[in-house]
Subunit: 435 residues, 2 copies
């Protein structure tokens, strides 16, 4: 069975049967994957890399088809750029596989151990989740990353990529499955569902008992669709309306460097900032300065009335902010700017508009910093550092499959450990319960 | 505002507004609760206990009304027994509050800490969930337990008890809120929603952004209703179709003690067993023996054809099992019995019918035990011990709010730590990201 390709009979059977067949294949193979040793998994990851290199010609040809179709359908330049593959991007995928192989295997790790007064020995041990579905948009490298991370974490993976990358994803998944097979591992570990539109996504999201976790990776619309329709457990990722707050006790040189980095180092990512909050005590000094730097970097500013006054002479593209700006994730060269009365007002703004992703305070005042770090409810809260560090690699996790913005199960970067669960193993010699 | 009592204007405003007002009160008070110190919380728990004792008269009177209404409505004896309160049960509630106070405070605990090569100091720190809703059936002690555990874990609690305990729960919640107020803690920490029927439950389950976690505690019907309708995160609890498997290498004296304990020590609980699996190699010796013991304990047996033969002479109530028996959680003095060919067949039976709660193997064969402990997917897997130990107290957690049967966030007994989440606190001195 080759579940990475649509069955010839999909049209007759309908989307439901096609998706169910893929999910069942994943479900059935999952226990075997959970018992694979680390060495075996790392060898299979290496074989997956070899298979990608071996299939480079087919993958680039498939990507060429997607690019041509994308141009015909009028995809914008940014999306085409994300879709495009070349030799160096395939080499980066292979490096990604090597990075996953280099990470410690979370499966079997003893998290806690205790001996009870009655002699029972209790071990809390990491075990795989089982079947992990990843629903993502155009970047084809997610196909490889998600498959590798789920596999190393002992789970089967169900991949649902964007339709514009269909041929590319199919070629990538086929190569990954060949690599698994060459390493003696069941290729059913990787299931690609690339047909059936929204109906197929719904089928995945409602497959209670078949899917242990669904991870949406993409824009706010995708996340919302998944959150609204999922009956299976979900970890929401990646919606980041992040802030830097420049306190009146800030070192303004640090503040300038941090704001520029958090906004401009890469603006299409979830941990880039969308709003700058400035204490009114330093607004007159800081805003003209940062305004000039941001103007040079090509960033348009949407400013509150007070900020507008301070930014008038900075020479950039400055407009009046509306209420909608505070809630907007631009993911581009635009920054909202607001002057606030004090730290409390900054905390209120963040509590109201933030998406609990990454928030930073710049200050030399330890008391203000402590209050901010304690009171801000977000996956990562920063003092005197850029929000751009919220990333599995930067946190030392080796790899990540996304940034969780929810509170349950796992928060922030999702590494291998976050993709597992645990069970209690209890060993006795005949203990029974008295009371 | 006294949100534990229905507003006079509920009828006009409708259930939605009433529930929303309670949820908002919880949401608004949650950050303040999250910042309370341990000492302050423990003093408030003591004050809650004092208030229960002080209000004992009112509570017992309210309970008397519920008991009278329950008898009128024809509640069965078991439900009336669960509903009934007396001085000793109130004393037990106060002891429960003391047990929660005695537990370590999970809030603020540093789970991990690291210093990155760039000098960033990252601490992974436990923080409260925020607003925890508990939806439960008749036992009124859950009102006190859930409020105490959520409060100690730094969260506001929304309590939705069964309608048959309405007056009792209202009196209990009122006393708890008075205790909180006496200790200088906002009584809005405890919200009781005791009106509005299923509509109110739906309102809680769909309150995204207001409710951080909903925990259903009750029978399979309640759990299913919650799982199907919840848009907020849920931890499913307490459905236990648990097994003991007696291997051919079992010490049959241990097996007998473990089976009797796991079935009979208390049969109305989720970690009691519902099916006994016996290896065919010891069925002839073990089944007549355990059959006699179970008959003496008043347990009816629903047996597979092979087991029937071995149980014929045991003198108890023995009937032929149907397929439905393997999937039934009796929660009473009935046990399904099946003879299996070998360990593999036992594993298949458990994978097919088990609810991933608690499973036990009795064997002296280490290899068989290891395979069972590894392959069975359940919150707790046992070797030579009774399944009745799956319990926060028995695991040394001090207290628990239920047994999770799901894989995400937390599995098995839910203690204080399991009722928290975490955030990453990152401290730098101006670090920005390079690549």
């Amino acid at each position: 069975m080759d579940a990475s390709r649509p069955r010839a009979d999909v049209a007759q059977e309908g989307v439901g049967s096609y998706v169910q067949a893929c999910l069942w294949a994943a479900r059935e193979v999952a226990p075997r994957l959970g018992r694979l040793g680390s060495l075996r998994k790392d060898r299979a990851l290496a074989a997956m890399g070899q298979a990608l290199l071996h299939a480079e010609g087919e993958i680039l040809a498939a990507n060429g088809r997607d690019m041509a179709l994308g141009r015909q359908r009028g995809l914008d330049a940014a999306r085409l750029e994300r879709l495009h593959l070349d030799g160096s991007r395939i080499a980066a995928m292979v490096e990604g596989l090597e990075a996953v192989a280099a990470c410690a295997d979370p499966v079997g790790e003893q998290i806690e151990g205790m001996v009870r007064p009655n002699g029972l020995r209790i071990a809390k041990v990491r075990v795989p989740l089982g079947v992990v579905a990843v629903i993502y948009e155009s970047r084809p490298n997610v196909t490889v990353d998600a498959a590798a991370i789920a596999f190393k974490a002992g789970s089967a993976v169900v991949l649902r990529g964007g339709s514009e990358a269909r041929h590319t994803n199919r070629a990538l998944a086929e190569a990954l499955r060949q690599g698994l097979g060459a390493a003696g591992v069941p290729p059913e570990a990787v299931q690609l569902i690339d047909r059936g539109g929204r109906e197929a996504v719904l089928e995945i999201l409602t497959a209670r008992g078949l899917v242990d976790l669904a991870i949406p990776r993409g824009g706010a619309d995708l996340i919302r669709f998944v959150a609204e329709h999922a009956l299976v457990p979900v970890i929401e990722t990646g919606v980041g309306n992040c802030h830097v707050y420049v306190d009146d006790a800030a070192d303004l040189a640090k503040a300038e460097a941090i704001v520029l980095n958090a906004k401009c180092q890469r603006w299409s990512v979830c941990n880039a900032i969308e709003t700058l909050l400035v204490h009114e005590g330093v607004a007159g000094e800081f805003l003209p300065r940062i305004g000039r730097s941001l103007a040079r970097a090509g960033v348009a500013l949407h400013a509150c009335p007070t900020a507008l006054g301070h930014l008038a002479a900075c020479g950039g593209d400055v407009a009046a902010a509306t209420e909608a700006d505070w809630a907007t994730e631009y993911l581009g060269p635009t920054l909202a700017v607001r002057v606030v009365r004090d730290l409390g007002a900054a905390l209120e703004h963040i509590a109201r508009y933030g998406t609990r992703h990454s928030e930073s305070i710049v200050t030399e005042d330890r008391t203000a910093a402590r209050r901010f770090l304690q009171e801000v409810d977000a996956a990562a809260v920063y003092h005197n550092a850029s929000t751009r560090f919220t990333d599995g690699g930067e946190f030392g996790f080796g790899v990540e499959i996304g940034i969780s913005t929810q509170r349950m199960h796992a928060r922030g970067p999702l590494g291998l450990s976050e993709l597992t669960t645990y069970k209690y193993i209890v060993e006795g010699d005949g203990q029974v319960r008295a009371g």
